[in-house]
């Protein structure tokens, strides 16, 4: 029995256990500080669904050896283009959502391909460059949003302004089109967005299945040991590009899922910081810079979004002040920092075994 517990602790790692316990304690404390437990749980589950696919987008590149995808905004931009095009064509409901995805995927493939070519030239510094590729592309698109020929009245500035608005509401189009599929509503406070979670589960299944195909295993080989993979006949560069394309496509799909739940398309500098919660999510789930699994995605997203949702509301009620923004900054960046500085120790411990 003790052996099993110890194995679990070793596998899970102390950081995750501590955070998990902390989250649990927040849930327990909630009713005592007048925070509704069921609403909180709903809140966490909805956030989990919103971010899930974006965190999933980290997996292909990590497995392919390209590091953490700080350039996720590139995929997000593809998704934004898809979403905006779908609204332009006045598409609603589930069809609108699916069309947005369909529009976004080719763009994501194209962008991912170029991004992958760049990353192949800068092996060893992928993460830092990804960071700035992400930033530059968001800034570049900010110029484009002002110029692209979209005409829908719901999207462009009123009073004959030029260019798209900063925030576009999808309420009349495909708001909650996934969430509201097969919803489970218990009482007044608990709302389970079955459709979105189901979609996330399907995506996870697809990614998991992919990594068990020939290409998928080749990609993992290329990521964990490029020299050996090359010797075994794997085209490492091609695998890396495919991993980047996959990440970018997942990012595109992920943001559309996010938007349908959130209710708004955020253009201009909206996607600027979006890579960070995704990175924090996967690192918290136990992934390293070189290896990421489905379990990492699910556990990490849940823990991270749970902490982000619960800590501010509970602490705010305890000290009667609104510190949520500051707490969020400290918690999310603290977690990423912790993961960035821990990875070496974990790796060497594993090697020692």
């Amino acid at each position: 029995m003790m052996e099993k517990i110890r194995d679990f602790i070793d596998a899970a790692g102390w950081p995750r256990l501590i955070i998990g316990l902390f989250l649990l304690s927040l849930f327990i404390a909630a009713p005592f500080v007048e925070v509704n437990l069921w609403t909180s749980l709903s809140d966490v589950i909805v956030r989990f669904g919103m971010w899930g696919i974006l965190v999933l987008a980290m997996v292909p590149m990590v497995q392919g050896g390209c590091g953490l995808n700080f350039g996720l905004p590139l995929g997000i931009i593809a998704g934004l283009l898809g979403a905006v095009t779908s609204v332009e064509f006045q598409l609603t409901g589930l069809a609108g959502f699916l069309c947005a995805v369909a529009f976004a995927i080719p763009v994501a493939v194209f962008l991912g391909w170029g991004y992958g070519l760049l990353l192949n030239r800068v092996k060893g510094s992928e993460m830092t460059i990804a960071l700035y590729v992400g930033f530059s592309s968001v800034a570049f698109m900010s110029m484009m949003w002002l110029l692209l020929p979209y005409k829908s009245q719901d999207m462009i500035w009123a009073y004959g302004g030029k260019g798209l608005r900063t925030t576009i509401s999808v309420e009349n189009y495909w708001y909650h089109s996934l969430n509201d599929l097969f919803t489970i509503q218990i009482g007044e406070h608990f709302y389970f967005p079955t459709g979105m979670i189901l979609f996330f589960a399907i995506m996870c299944l697809l990614v998991w299945a992919f990594f068990h195909t020939k290409t998928g295993t080749a990609m993992t080989a290329a990521g964990s040991n490029p020299e050996y993979a090359r010797a075994s006949g794997v085209n490492v560069d091609k695998m890396r590009i495919i991993s980047v394309i996959l990440s970018t496509v997942l990012g595109a799909v992920g943001i559309i899922v996010y938007e349908q739940s959130f209710g708004f398309i955020q253009l201009y500098l909206g996607p600027f910081w979006m890579a960070f919660p995704a990175v924090a999510g996967i690192l918290l789930g136990g992934a390293s810079v070189h290896k990421a699994t489905m379990v990492n995605v699910i556990v990490g997203t849940f823990l991270f979004q749970g902490i982000l949702a619960m800590t501010p509301s509970v602490i705010n009620n305890i000290i009667q002040t609104d510190m949520s923004e500051t707490i969020r900054i400290i918690v999310s960046n603290g977690l990423i920092l912790y993961a960035l500085t821990r990875t070496i120790t974990i790796k060497s411990a594993k090697v020692k075994k």
């Binding site: 510094s125 830092t128 700035y132 110029m143 002002l146 110029l147 030029k162 900054i329 400290i330 821990r342």
Partner: protein, 375 residues
């Protein structure tokens, strides 16, 4: 014979590749300046002001580069320390040059402490220093907010009412720094052809330059160079690698706190929660535009870069307005250019590093082959 022409070609192409970023900016400026339609006197004056404002901060980036820590986004920590010093001297009602120096003295322990912590964190993230220092900046910003927005006024006594928010605690968003406005800039007034020059500020910058040049020759400076080139070799030579790395960050953070105070005395207003945020990005972008790389940065890069980068900064919105009829495009272009520059500079550096590794590998292979071939 073939070797000569090959060498010539690679020398020219190497020049272009090594200096791609500054050249890009020179070309951009050549196109955009006439489009913007700003007078040369205005531009020269603006550049001189900005040189005075930013030089100290950009120069504080140099020492970590020597030590192989890459571009220290953690100078933001020093900026925050400097700002806390300024909050205190404003609270105590100190003005003028004494206030300037007192602020530096107060910030110093905080800056050194933060730099030391940053150094330890970066030692745990070898190979990922830049991303880590970037995130560290955000994290400490959160702690800074906790202290300044929630702690000051309650836990930390502030007596000067004008500093505090209406709700009774927490420092205001914008602090009027008329107490130190221009106290260094205008100390020794000089005007040439209608252009004001902040002599005293430049003297401070010159002192820093002399310090950096001297520092490189000291034992600590040489140690840092060794660590920067190869940590293992340095360790074998008996250098305490961890401590040297930490020291480079501590010095950088301390210099950044001074730099931020100089910056703010020029601007005259402190946005308590924003003034420091972009400092890291702007300073690093400027250094990179000046031709520096992750592994190599000089004083020339700093000055050259500040002028080029800020030229773009000032000119882009106006050029955008002239070209497209909307200044907003120019402003987004500004953001785009700043980040794209960093991306391109980093990519070029990484690409060059990989190319050299390949070349070394090729040489090793041909050298290994030729003995048998010769025989």
């Amino acid at each position: 014979m073939m070797n000569n022409s090959l060498n010539q070609n690679s020398a020219v192409s190497r020049f272009f590749i090594n200096n791609a970023v500054p050249l890009l900016f020179v070309v951009f400026s050549a196109i955009a300046i006439p489009l913007a339609g700003l007078s040369p006197e205005y531009l020269v004056q603006e550049m001189i002001i900005r040189l005075g404002r930013y030089s100290f901060l950009v120069l504080s980036l140099l020492i970590p580069v020597i030590a192989g820590m890459g571009l220290n986004f953690g100078i933001v920590l020093g900026a925050m320390a400097g700002q806390i010093g300024l909050i205190f001297i404003t609270d105590w009602g100190i003005v003028g040059l004494p206030a300037f120096f007192l602020a530096i003295i107060i910030s110093a322990p905080l800056a050194i402490f933060l730099g030391w912590m940053a150094g330890i964190a970066l030692n745990h993230a070898k190979g990922r220093e830049m991303v880590t220092s970037y995130i560290l900046g955000f994290f400490i910003n959160g702690v800074y907010q906790l202290v300044v927005l929630y702690g000051m006024g309650i836990v930390i006594p502030i007596t000067y009412n004008k500093l505090v928010l209406p709700r009774g605690y927490g420092v205001r968003n914008a602090i009027d720094l008329k107490n130190i406005l221009g106290c260094v800039d205008n100390l020794i007034p000089l005007e040439i052809a209608g252009i004001k020059i902040p002599v005293a500020t430049f003297i401070l910058v010159a002192i820093l330059c002399i310090f950096i040049v001297w520092f490189r020759k000291t034992k600590l400076g040489q140690d840092m160079r060794a660590v920067g080139q190869d940590m293992e070799v340095a360790a074998n030579a008996g250098i305490n690698v961890e401590r040297t790395r930490i020291l480079s960050i501590v010095i950088s953070t301390f210099l950044a706190s001074i730099g931020q105070i100089i910056f703010l005395q020029n601007i005259g207003t402190m946005n308590t929660y924003n003034s420091h945020e972009q400092i890291g990005m702007f300073s690093i972008a400027a250094l990179l535009v000046g031709g520096a790389s992750v592994a190599k940065a000089s004083i020339k890069n700093a000055f050259f870069g500040i002028v080029l980068f800020h030229l773009m900064f000032v000119v882009a919105p106006r050029a955008g307005k002239t070209l497209m009829g909307e200044a907003q495009i120019g402003e987004y272009f500004r953001v785009f250019a700043s980040y794209a520059i960093i991306a391109i500079a980093l990519a070029l550096h990484a690409w060059r590093k990989n190319k050299e590794k390949e070349r070394a590998r090729m040489e090793f292979r041909t050298n290994a082959e030729s003995p048998s071939k010769g025989a």
